[in-house]
Symmetry: C2
């Protein structure tokens, strides 16, 4: 399976690298980072630079499209090169996926109309503007479109994609090699269980 | 707080980018990726390139040293430029941290002698060779040295570091902004609970 992860300025690094690491460990899976033009792409914190190894035009037919989110989403949603590429790649892809606000980019490309989809809790309601049904779930699968909640949810989504595509045994082995037995020090990662002050503090960090 | 993450060829991307994303979202924290010389550094899957923005020599006094692991560890453990930098930076750092087999590099630099420390489950016993006491735990804090288990454990470790340094409120807000409410599709991330066949399959992926 060939995965293409399109990058754009202001993406959130873990959105892309969480699922990248999970998928790239799986036998028979390869991942290419791409952008309108190859070269360095700066993240939302302006302190991490990932290289796009390919131009989007050079990788038109991936098996999996995986779009990260981040504060740069707002601008990326207006980039016709990115949106046209997503629209065309989606037609042939086995899976079209997003992490965090990456689903807004899928929405802008017209991929989410009539589908259930999720996103970062701070923007998930905005999916309705693209004809999608917003779902406050961690991973949502609707046909060939798979969307994940904010940032770290891409790891769970990638394991789900692996299980559905390469089987549960492969997903379990990858989960073990990346020792994904999560044990966060707090139970504060879910906006539904957070109070208003914590939600405000969290959104203030973006 | 200024965090420096040293990169070397063959690092595992999520080891570095998990804690990076957590720490870079925290107010007052900045992160610099560094290497013996600035420039692109290729990961263990040979399909992700992160840029080292600085030379190690240019960032000698970080508040936090954070060393990722990966198959490239074996070679990095013999790089005197990296080891000398770690040794010197550790003397002044508030925290010296590692993810996955990055603790073997800390061990080779002499930082772990007499300390409890953890690592990826596949290599954790090797820490004894550096005078450390291997601990099969997800995050181990011993004095100013914090080590994490394999790959994804760096996310939990970074939240722990944040809580101890900037307070629980900050860590909770960051956990919420990255929506870290993990829900893996399987319970297969812990080697102690995996059977021999699964452990073998997982190690075969490296």
């Amino acid at each position: 399976m060939h995965v293409v992860i399109p990058l754009y300025p202001g993406f959130t690094a873990l959105d892309a690298v969480g699922p990248y690491t999970v998928l790239a460990f799986a036998p028979g899976w390869t991942v290419t980072f791409a952008a309108p033009a190859p070269g360095p792409v700066l993240d939302d914190r302006e302190s991490l630079t990932l290289t796009a190894a390919a131009a989007l035009a050079d990788v038109p037919r991936p098996d999996v499209v995986l779009v990260p989110g981040g504060p740069g989403t707002a601008q990326a949603m207006g980039d016709p090169v990115l949106l046209d590429w997503i629209r065309a790649a989606h037609e042939h892809a086995a899976w079209t996926a997003s992490v965090c606000s990456g689903s807004l980019i899928l929405g802008a490309a017209g991929v989410l109309a009539g589908r259930r989809a999720t996103s970062h809790w701070g923007v998930v309601d905005g999916l309705a503007g693209f004809g999608a049904e917003p779902a406050r779930e961690r991973v949502v699968v609707d046909g060939t479109v798979v969307t994940a909640a904010g940032v770290s949810a891409g790891i769970d989504m990638a394991l789900e994609l692996l299980a559905r595509t390469s089987g549960a045994d492969t997903a379990r082995a990858v989960q073990l090699v990346v020792e994904y037995d999560p044990d966060p020090p707090f139970d504060s990662g879910n906006a539904e269980r957070a109070d208003a002050a914590l939600r405000e503090a969290a959104l203030g960090l973006i």
